[in-house]
Amino acid sequence: MKLALLLNAVDPLIGGVLIRGQKGTCKSTAARALGRLLPPLRVVADCPYGCDPADTDSLCTGCAARYRSGLPLPVADRLVPVVTLPLNATEEMIVGGLDLEHALRTGARRLQPGLLARANRGVLYIDEVNLLDDRLVDLVLSVAAEGVNRIEREGVSSWHPARFILVGTMNPEEGALRPHFADRFGLCVQLHGEDDPELRAEVMERREAFDRDPIGFAAAFQAQESDLAARIVAAQQALDKVALTAPVLRLITDLCLDHHVAGHRADLAIRRAARALSALQVSPSVQAEQVIQVALLGLNHRRRRPVPGNPPPHTDAGAHDRLDQDGASQRLSRELMGDQELDGESAAAETTVLDRSTPQPGSGTHEQLFAVDDPFPVRPIVQPRDRLIRQGSGRRFRTLTRRTGHPITTIRDRTGRDVALDATIREAAPYQVHRPHRPGMAITIRGHDIHTRVRERRIGNLLVFIIDASSSMGVQARMRAVKGAILSLLLDAYQKRDQVALVSFRDRGAQVLLWPTSSVELAARHLQNLPTGGHTPLSHGLVESYRLIRAHLMRYPSARPIAILITDGRANVPINPGVYAHQEAPSIASKIADEKRVHWIVVDTEAGDMYFGLAAELARRLGAEHLEIADLKAEDLIHLAQHCETID
């Protein structure tokens, strides 16, 4: 990590660092210390954007005008700004907005520079970057790509240069970063805690020393720090002289191809990083060794699985430690199954049915208990966004809310609920010079100035899992795969803060295993202990789950639950005696489909030599999406990346 930050200090064009790591591995500590190491900048003294007086081509409008008219630009040296972008930031604070005081005094509209202006030529630091609101992410992305911030809001129209090193930290447990955003970071480091007890003890002692006497502690390391700063300056000057030979360039492109990266950003980042490293090591040209050292930094967050159909790559270095998301979920499954499968993967791969077939009293049929397959990243399950105002909390889908939630923007609206005071005053400000004032009041606000906030928050959803646990599901250990799939969906539900409910049906009836709860842990435990065996009372399962969903809808009429039915559709126990079960279930399904608020998904587990298409028929009747287990898996990252690029 220190290396990645240093390389960026030497060559800011590398494009920033994304620091991924567990809790408490001093991600934030290191990122914040970076600013102190960078050599001071030469800036135009009174420029809000910190323009470089030597680089006359990329001056801001103000400085450019002065430069053209021949006025001298006052020069000053300044520490490199490290600007923190907090999660609570609002749009106009990031890009800039109307200068209120100026507008009040003169009635003229002037830009009040935002965060991005301050970060120009410095470091923009985002803690917990994966929790940042999507809208803000888009803003930062587009500016980072262009190097220019254009402002068109609140009657202000302006632009200014905004080039910065993007430093972000994230904990992958809290959800992934959009691939498009991740790609913007030049390098990516993966942090782990130290394993050596002696070193860990050192960490504790240093920390304690720092807490007791921060100033003395900093002074003790002053010499080392200024030494490092001097090396950075030297490296910066040597940077242009470092030679890159053709074989080295070839090596970089080969590495990138082998790891199936999208686009060319990885190549560029590695090239620049290798050059910066050579400069730091005072070596006249880049050697293979430096490329290898930095390659992982550039590839960490861009590596993908090979595209299906392509021949497998000849180097297999990245295959087993691909993206961390995979690693995390595999670790999770192992953790979760810890008491059953102690041997981890090797045992899981070979044994199909665990010897846990404990016949339960009361049911005469043979029962089996299946383990759970490894979970995988699931593809997004969402419902279309609508304009209903809802209450709730979670991350599954976005909705407009009242009063609570993150304010996203403001609109002109006189109803006066949830007034956006700042926007209202800014609206009124330019007219104050002309409006009469009441004594004691500095601002006169007219009705048409009033703006209200539009807030948005993501709310979770109810996911109802309806699981066919009949013996037909035991064939070829299908249940293992099913459990793996459900666990994956549960993991996803955890990250999106959904509520979950479980219904299972087997033998003679259906059973609600879990009423709607936000405790995903409980659901996982129930899933683990779910036995398989007996007949297939599909009708019972449908009716029981429908009852549960109805009850939920009575309490939360605006909810849009998602019901996931996992079955092969081979019903053989009817509710009404004398009716054929395989005819009853589809007709019940058609009736249930009348409730349009529920989004149905049928996961078809039908397999074997004979394909009846029963589950497909069921899905048609329910108006459901018809999927197979494999369809649930997240599409390859390449699709996601391409998708994002078309949005741009």
Binding site: K23, G24, T25, S28, T84, P86, L87, N88, A89, T90, E92, M93, I94, G97, L100, E101, L115, D127, E128, L131, N171, E173, E174, G193, D195, D196, P197, E198, L199, R200, A201, V203, M204, E208, A328, L332, E335, L336, G394, R395, T404, H406, P407, L421, D422, I425, Q432, M441, A442, I443, I445, R457, L491, Y494, R497, T517, S518, S519, V520, E521
Partner: protein
């Protein structure tokens, strides 16, 4: 306004582990908090609220919205404007600030001051809960029910010890270092691991199984409800004794030494347990020294390390979202 009488901390029956964890946090605020996880009606909230009475005193500039000590020169002071001259310093108890579960974003981080905006046409920052909680205790009841985006804000502030506000035309950053005390009832769902890790220590409490102790609980409660003032007065001597004991532990704390073998021992235990990152080590270290001070020693002993580990490690073993906290070795 007369604040309601608070049930005395010393009058709480048993639940020694919880009391100890809270006291350690008073001795060394850098332990950064405690999570109390337990069933309904086990005195979680009572204990935290009762803390207010036994907390030590700190020097604060009078009327300082950011609870700064005298002589501090933080960047915020330039925004806030000069303090009235001469600066009046008051000595007051460390505060317990409660964060209600329904708190909105602007109340938590602070927002634009409405009155000055309209009357004087100036933007002024009105500090929120995170400013009030600086150098104090931030108490979140039912922390697992907290709104997701408020949790994000808390994490953000706790990570930096600073609250950075960029909203409504206000761009400000002020110190916000607090001891985070949370209570939760696991039936309502678990906490995100990231937030869990921010709590220094962890205590699990259950109802007391001993009938005699339960009778004691009922009787004391009844006595308190009948005549709160008299009840508090009856416990006054013990409260004072506890306060004095805490005070002497605070003074002793900087003198406590820890041997290298102990630090390496802590590190080894943390590696064996497979915790994420280094926060567990650091917290255990701090808790062990605080414990030694509390027990009147100048040298950390084996038992201090053991107790510290039992308080600092359990919730960090739950590395993944679905693991249960109490499935411990």
């Amino acid at each position: 306004m007369q604040s309601p009488t608070i049930y005395p901390f010393v009058a709480i029956v048993r639940q020694d582990e919880m009391k100890l964890a809270l006291i350690l946090n008073i001795i060394n605020p850098l332990i950064s908090g405690v999570l109390i996880r337990g069933d309904k009606g086990t005195g979680k909230s009572t204990a935290v609220r009762a803390l207010a009475a036994i907390l030590p005193e700190i020097d604060v500039v009078e009327n300082c919205p950011f609870q700064l000590p005298p002589g501090s020169n933080h960047a915020i002071c330039q925004v806030c404007g000069p303090c009235p001259d001469p600066v009046r310093v008051i000595r007051r108890k460390v505060r317990v600030i409660e964060l209600p579960v329904g708190a909105t974003e602007d109340r938590v981080v602070g927002s634009m001051d409405l009155e000055t905006a309209i009357k004087e046409g100036e933007r002024r920052f009105e500090p929120g809960i995170l400013a009030a909680a600086h150098r104090g205790i931030l108490y979140v009841d039912e922390v697992n029910l907290l709104d997701d985006h408020v949790v994000d804000l808390l994490l953000d502030a706790a990570a930096m010890g600073t609250n950075t506000v960029e909203r409504e035309g206000i761009s400000i950053s002020h110190p916000s270092r607090f001891t985070l005390v949370g209570t939760m009832n696991p039936e309502e769902g678990e906490l995100r691991p990231q937030l869990l890790d921010r709590f220094g220590l962890y205590v699990r409490i259950t109802g007391i199984p001993d009938p005699m102790a339960r009778v004691e609980v009922m009787e004391r409660r009844a006595a308190f409800e009948q005549d709160a003032a008299a009840f508090v007065q009856r416990w006054e001597p013990e409260s004072h004794a506890l306060q004095a004991q805490i005070q002497s532990a605070i003074q002793r704390h900087p003198l406590v030494r820890i041997e290298r073998t102990h630090t390496v021992g802590i590190a080894r235990r943390c590696i064996e347990a497979g915790v994420d990152g280094h926060r567990a080590d650091i917290i255990t270290y701090k808790a062990a020294t605080a414990l030694a001070a509390w027990r009147g020693r100048n040298q950390v002993a084996d038992e201090d390390v053991e107790t510290a580990i039992s308080l600092a490690l359990p919730h960090r073993l739950r590395r993944l979202p679905f693991d249960e906290i109490d499935r411990l070795p």
